[in-house]
């Protein structure tokens, strides 16, 4: 898919992509999953993760190993490592977070926290643990999002079926 000149690369569920400018990275149709975008503005390197879950369940309980991008706890250090590998500096990185919606909102839930809320909390905690500042968020609600992120400018555009596009 192309928007303007740059090719937009899709980040599938459970995946991480880390690229240099002028790359654009996208997640289409994000619901309760969480998009974490980490950007090194000086080197113009960025990573995007399409996270499903906070952390793996304990081993031996039938846990799935899965791709690194699947869990907030593993995706964020993996992006920082890949940014470092491309010559970036994790200590100068900032992050943007989107998603974590509750799509079947009309149904009363007895859970203290929805899956989306758990994912957001886990992503924010993992970013804080690595000392990454949050530069923007578009989280929660009960609608789907498409996220397109620019490795050069660090701009993240969030579009949805029911709302106007916004830049975070």
């Amino acid at each position: 898919m192309r928007r303007g000149e740059a090719v937009i690369e899709r980040v599938r569920m459970g995946e991480i992509l880390v690229r240099e400018a002028p790359a654009q990275l996208a997640i289409y149709g994000l619901g309760s999953c969480v998009a974490v975008f980490i950007h090194d503005p000086a080197r113009k390197i960025a990573g995007l993760a399409h996270i499903l879950l906070p952390a793996p369940i304990p081993r031996g309980a039938g846990a799935a190993e899965g791709p690194t991008g699947k869990y907030a706890g593993t995706a964020i250090p993996a992006i920082l490592e890949a940014i470092r590998g491309l010559g970036g500096r994790p200590e100068s990185c900032v992050a943007k977070v989107a998603g974590g919606a509750h799509m079947f909102a009309a149904t009363p839930s007895t859970d203290r926290e929805t899956l989306g809320e758990r994912n957001i909390r886990a992503a924010l905690e993992a970013l804080a643990r690595h000392g990454i500042e949050i530069a923007g968020m578009d989280i929660g609600g009960s609608y789907g999002r498409t996220v397109v992120a620019d490795a050069g400018s660090g701009a993240v555009t969030v579009t949805s079926l029911k709302r106007d596009a916004k830049k975070i």
Binding site: G29, L53, A64, A106, T107
Partner: protein, 205 residues
């Protein structure tokens, strides 16, 4: 735990049982809507979680989604995805002259669509339950209208705790002239051993 514990033979047995479910759901839908609807089991297979939205027309395709959880001896998720055009046609049949638009459905119209999902799912599960000899009890239906990827991802998150692929029983719904929908039935990975046992007790395919 992976879906690979089911052999090709097991999948074929499960497909045959699913075809019985699809027939039962066809009859129930015909009674509910008065329209002849075809349900064809497209595939019973292991699908990478990231590939599930593609079965529904792609992650950004707008869908009206009806979701039920299944409890009992086997846990599972059921998801019925209707393109907005189809959902509007269904509403025109149930409540003539129909809804103004997919983004402005009344409470009654949403209930009508959920009831359709409920009837379809209950008929499907009853037939499967009889064939497998195990209880399959559906929850109340849940409703969301949005991008396919966004609506289905919570089901994939639940599957994803224990697996990277889901066992998907994919049934395609069609009716003349252009009603169509996709029904996905995904047993929880933890319930696969119980399904395997039930299949082993059945007749040879």
């Amino acid at each position: 735990m992976t879906t690979s514990i089911l052999s090709a033979k097991d999948l074929e047995r499960l497909r045959r049982i699913s075809v019985e479910g699809a027939y039962a759901a066809e009859r129930a839908l015909h009674q509910f809507t008065g329209v002849g609807v075809r349900l064809d089991v497209a595939a019973v297979s292991s699908v990478d979680l990231a590939d599930v939205p593609a079965l529904l027309g792609g992650p950004e395709a707008p869908v009206v989604g009806i979701h039920l959880k299944v409890f009992g001896e086997c846990r599972a998720s059921v998801f019925l995805a209707l393109p907005p055009r189809t959902a509007l046609k269904v509403l025109a049949i149930l409540f003539p002259p129909g809804a103004a638009g997919i983004d402005e459905l009344s409470e009654m119209e949403v209930s009508g669509l959920m009831e359709m999902g409920n009837i379809l799912t209950c008929a499907y599960l009853n037939a499967m339950s009889a064939a497998l000899g195990m209880s399959l009890i559906p929850s109340v239906p849940m409703f969301a209208s949005d991008m396919a990827g966004a609506v289905v991802d919570v089901l994939l998150i639940e599957q994803g705790q224990r697996a990277d692929a889901a066992l998907v029983i994919h049934t395609e719904m069609t009716a003349e002239p252009d009603l169509k929908g996709q029904l996905l039935l995904m047993p929880d990975p933890a319930s696969l051993p119980r399904i395997l046992e039930a299949l082993a007790e059945g007749p040879e395919p």
